[in-house]
Amino acid sequence: MSGQSLVTRLSRRERRVTLEQRERLAALAFISPWFIGFIVFTAGPMIASLVLSFTNYDVINPPSFVGLDNYQRLIDDPRIELSLKNSFFYAALYVPLMMVVALALALILNQVGKAAGFFRTVFYLPSVTPAVAVGTLWLWLLNPRVGLVNRGLDLIGINGPGWTTNPDWIKPGIVLMSLWSVGSTVILYLAALRNVPVELHEAATIDGANSLRRFWHVTVPMISGTLFFTLIVNTISALQVFTEVYTMFFGNMRSGTASSAGLFYNIYLFRQAFEFFRMGYASAMAWLLFLIIMVLTFIQLRFSKRWVYYEGA
């Protein structure tokens, strides 16, 4: 140490600084594609979308500033309320049902030995089916007269409803279709179930807990993190359902009862933007949805502290 001259010590520090600088430059080079994409495809468009929401813009003529008109129209337009109600009704019906079905299937698979992989594949197959094909197929399956669903119900003596024609049954029919694609959640739950320590179940059994009590007091708390994660992610995505329903009930030359009962928020937004070219109004709709999703997620996060168990927390 004492042999080291001031000069060498200084030059060493200098070299370290340049190394640090070089590392920073290299890091910036590595992340620069993200940064460019962030500006061009996220941050810039977010600002542009907010600005557009205060204008009327039909792509052909230059945008004209209209102040809060579009937001006033959000309140006045009865189809906004309708489509929001439709989307919330769908999400409120689909998300809990989906979680229950997925958990039930995962619990079944958790009891299966070597063949679990095979059944996991079976349950996941609908999830790799293109959404347009899912919508088309289910329009056919839900056909009130000739569809497989009502034929199946017929076998057990139930006169199936008009899934694609009766306004009251259109959304339940869409929920049924969505439940078919439950596979990825099943796989997540199965992975979570397999992480529950066997010792906990053994200890509970020794304490005299039956299987139902073990499920409520051991399994559910131990997988509550995963349950919560799927609750948030699926609520957000359920409010944004588009492709399957648009395929079934909208597009060229389509109208009818479904155009009201199946008018989900994102479908209405898409039609405003790309069928009627009301870009300003559609931008205001997009910001309303963003706000709703943020508020919902915030509420869910607040509530999660009461019932989600995090290991080590």
Binding site: R24, L125, L137, M285
Partner: protein, 300 residues
């Protein structure tokens, strides 16, 4: 092992595969009920596929019948789809977009993820939080301005907007690959540094080869996302020659389905054509799909 298996009854063999242990009668009956439940659930999931393929092979007059086996087999439906629409172009477009979208997003996300994992620089964590935050943003918020950008540079009604955005990485894949990179021992990189590797070399020759599986996970997920997407083709493609398969199927449904001439056998045959390639790819890359779903749970 196989000798023991052969000496059992089929039920017992099945039970042993499914995981039943004791042969006691009080256990076998619940076990059989359980197996019936499992098979019943599987049939519910598989029946729509069977019904789809069956109906796609029925004649016009038979397509509304309740028979599971078509009689006669109308293979001709597939020829008619082929004649009615430029299906080959759609297939080519889907493949072109799918491969480009997956390759670009895999490489760019890997590059970016390396920047966020190997290097330690001021503001890194804040910046990475920003990456994660973008996942929360609903797609519709940016959808319109992004369309206007592509419109400005004159690339609407081309295939470019369907994949070129992937050149800049994707938040979820960046997150996923970063998890893998953080798991690599740092000594590996230090050894390569001593051997004179550049930073790019560290990524290219150390990080990439060691995370091959993760890259395949990203590739198959993006391929699936691209292959199944309808929204972008709806927004950006007007000429039917440029359509991808899902956009084409939607066009056929509008033409021959409820709004049009009610030729369900044509539409269902087209649905099979759109679905089969994805199912094949799923079976080829099954373990990567499963790995990807398991890792995506880490987000929570």
């Amino acid at each position: 092992m196989s000798v023991i298996q052969h000496s059992r009854t089929p039920q017992e063999r099945l039970a042993s595969v499914i995981g039943a242990s004791g042969p006691g009668i009080d256990q076998i009956i619940p076990r059989l009920l359980f197996i019936a439940l499992l098979i019943g659930c599987s049939l519910v999931f598989l029946a729509p596929f069977a019904w789809l393929v069956s109906a796609s092979l029925k004649t016009r007059s038979e397509v509304f019948s309740s028979a599971w086996i078509p009689d006669p087999f109308a293979w001709n439906n597939y020829v008619r789809v082929w004649d009615a629409a430029p299906v080959l172009s759609w297939l080519k477009n889907s493949l072109f977009v799918g491969v480009l979208a997956s390759v670009t997003v895999t490489l760019s996300s890997a590059l970016i993820a390396f920047g966020f994992s190997y290097f330690r620089f001021k503001g890194r964590d804040a910046l990475f939080s920003l990456v994660l935050a973008t996942m929360m943003l609903p797609g519709v918020v940016t959808m319109i301005p992004v369309f206007l950008v592509w419109d400005q540079i004159g690339l609407v009604n081309t295939l470019w907007p369907l994949w070129a955005g992937n050149l800049f990485g994707s938040a979820f894949y960046i997150f996923l690959l970063r998890q893998f990179y953080l798991g690599l021992p740092r000594e590996l990189f230090e050894a390569a540094r001593v051997d004179g590797a550049s930073y790019f070399g560290l990524w290219r020759h150390v990080a990439l080869p060691l995370t091959r599986n993760a890259l395949i996970v990203v590739f198959v997920f993006e391929f699936k996302a691209s292959w199944t997407d309808l929204v972008k083709p709806l927004i950006y493609l007007y000429n039917s020659d440029l359509f991808t398969l899902p956009r084409g199927l939607k066009a056929l449904l509008d033409q021959f389905g409820q709004g049009g001439e009610m030729q369900w056998e044509i539409i269902l045959a087209a649905s099979v054509i759109v679905t089969v390639p994805m199912i094949v790819i799923f079976f080829l890359g099954q373990r990567y799909f499963m790995e990807g779903i398991a890792t995506s749970g880490l987000k929570g």
